[in-house]
């Protein structure tokens, strides 16, 4: 089977799953419509509809090949960054630093991935943005809460640009015997981590009783966490045929990225709690903002990238 055929099968499978979900949502709405509109079912159906749009967008990006995928994730980064920086308290003196973050650092990071310069894209934000953006803010001379402002801006760039860019960075890995299949690595990462989110939600709604972190998130339960991570790990093992991994390796890696995804959701919830908001934004109907949808991928992507790079590339 060629990589192209595998991608085709994958999207056909996703289409079938979404069609079933759509029908199930429609059936639930009809069954419970006598009791009046239910917020849970409405939100579920909004999520399913949005999933269809997102899968369609990813499919279009895959059709566009490497440049399509890079542009898609650059767009995701841009929206994630504006959501993050909206919630921090920058001042007038940070204006240039913010402009550089949006219009220089972000495009440059994705350009470095496009030209596959690993030596620079892996340190560009942690080293060079880290050093130069505080210089720009310092030059403007405003010192009030300076430390918090530069630290939070850097954190935003790390989360929204550096970590997100590790998804398209998978395209730059050269794995022997896996030529032309790198889009499948992206498909595996995004599919497994997002499936874990969905399965944690489903298990939590069905069986959830005991909250994992009541201070951080009312919706994260032990039943959801265990059921979701284990079933998504099983899915990861079952999807080994789209990866360079054996079934056992695929399951193990799926387990690691599912845990990272769970903790990503937890960390991002802690920030939302700190800032007194429920969602990061409002661009994705039913889900909230871009960061609400991407939080798990953000924490899983760099780990998945480095595990694959360390053990599978020469």
């Amino acid at each position: 089977m060629t990589p192209q055929q595998k991608i085709l099968y994958l999207f056909e499978g996703l289409g079938a799953v979404l069609a079933v979900a759509w029908l199930a949502g429609w059936w639930l709405e009809r069954k419970f419509s006598a009791a009046g509109p239910s917020a849970v079912i409405e939100n579920l159906n909004a999520r399913i509809r949005t999933w269809c749009v997102m899968v369609l967008l990813i499919a279009l990006a895959f059709l566009g090949g490497e440049i399509g995928v890079i542009l898609l994730f650059a767009f995701a980064s841009f929206n994630a960054l504006r959501e993050f920086l909206t919630l921090i308290q920058t001042r007038r003196g940070d204006h240039w630093a913010l402009l550089v973050g949006f219009f220089v650092v972000l495009p440059l990071q994705y350009y470095l991935i496009w030209i596959e310069w690993y030596g620079l894209y892996s340190v560009f934000i942690p080293v060079y943005a880290f050093l130069f953006l505080p210089i720009i803010s310092a030059v403007r001379g405003e010192t009030e809460r300076y430390m918090e402002r530069i630290a939070e801006t850097q954190w935003g760039l790390m989360i929204a640009v550096f970590c997100v860019s590790h998804v398209p960075a998978l395209l730059t890995l050269r794995i022997p015997g896996f030529d032309g299949g790198n889009l499948l690595l992206i498909a595996f990462l995004v599919l497994i981590v997002q499936a874990s989110d969905v399965l944690q939600y489903v298990w939590g709604k069905l069986l959830g009783r005991h909250k994992v972190a009541p201070n951080l998130s009312p919706s994260k339960t032990w039943e959801g966490l265990i059921g979701g991570v284990l079933s998504a790990t099983a899915l990861g093992a079952a999807m080994w045929w789209i990866t360079p991994f054996t079934p056992l390796q695929a399951g193990l890696i799926a387990f690691i990225i599912n845990l990272m995804g769970f903790f990503g959701g937890l960390v991002m919830s802690a920030i939302k709690r700190d800032r007194g908001v429920k969602d990061w934004g409002h661009m994705i109907a039913g889900h909230g903002g871009m960061l609400d949808r991407l939080d798990s991928v953000i924490f899983a992507a760099p780990v998945f990238f480095h595990v694959t790079r360390y053990w599978w590339t020469p």
Binding site: R82, Q89, R92, F102, R275, G281
Partner: protein, 215 residues
């Protein structure tokens, strides 16, 4: 300006401004009380020259066509571009901030704009708030306007973040997200004193402001 060509041009230019504003600020409008087609005076906090363009952009299109911002003549009546946008496209009611004289009474100007049945956007702080106070004390204009046209409802509007998108003295906007929050309408009570009314209006507006993280 009633020629069809001019009104078509205004419609297109208005749509361009709305699209541009939405692209940069991705504004979320949050209506605490549902929007109503009736005549209203929207009164908002003021920190950026873009404030009324933002409010204007998030209003439903059919209300937007019936809503005019009240703006300072000394800023919006200078230069052909500002005049074109301010007077031509947004149909701003320009008032002079100089001393009130017989020929220059801003309350009279605003009241006669209301008499055509259209809604107004006003900034009762009187000037842009560039300091660290959340809200400057209201000028008395809002009270005098409410007394001159007591049947028109007053709607508080809190604009969050636009001053960070475009701080004073900068020319490139940072694409942060803005929120425009519309509160429940209020009106002047029978026999309500000036200080009492202005205090109530300020409190209603501050009530819409997001929680402060760094007091």
């Amino acid at each position: 300006m009633t020629m069809p060509l001019a009104s078509l041009g205004r419609e297109i230019a208005g749509q361009l401004i709305v699209t541009f504003t939405r692209l940069i600020t991705a504004p979320q409008s949050d209506w605490r009380a549902p929007p109503s087609p009736g005549q209203r005076i929207y009164f908002a906090n003021h920190a950026s020259h873009g404030d009324f363009v933002l409010i204007w952009s998030v209003l439903p299109a059919k209300f937007r066509r019936r809503t005019r911002p009240v703006a300072a003549a000394d800023y919006w009546d200078r230069g052909w571009l500002r005049r074109l946008i301010g007077k031509g496209v947004l149909r701003a009611v320009l008032i002079s901030r100089e001393r009130v004289t017989r020929s220059n009474d801003p309350i009279e100007t605003m009241a006669s704009a209301l008499d055509t049945g259209e809604s107004l956007i006003v900034f009762p702080e009187g000037t842009r708030n560039l300091g660290s106070e959340r809200l400057l004390p209201f000028k008395s204009g809002l009270y005098h306007l409410a007394r001159a046209r007591p049947r028109v409802e007053l709607v508080p509007v809190w604009i969050a973040n636009l001053n960070r998108v475009m701080p004073k003295g900068e020319f490139l906007p940072v694409p942060l997200l803005c929120t425009v929050r519309f509160g429940a309408p209020l009106s002047l009570r029978e026999g309500e004193a000036k200080a009492e009314f202005l205090g109530r209006a300020q409190a209603a507006l501050l009530d819409l402001a997001p929680r402060e993280w760094h007091p």
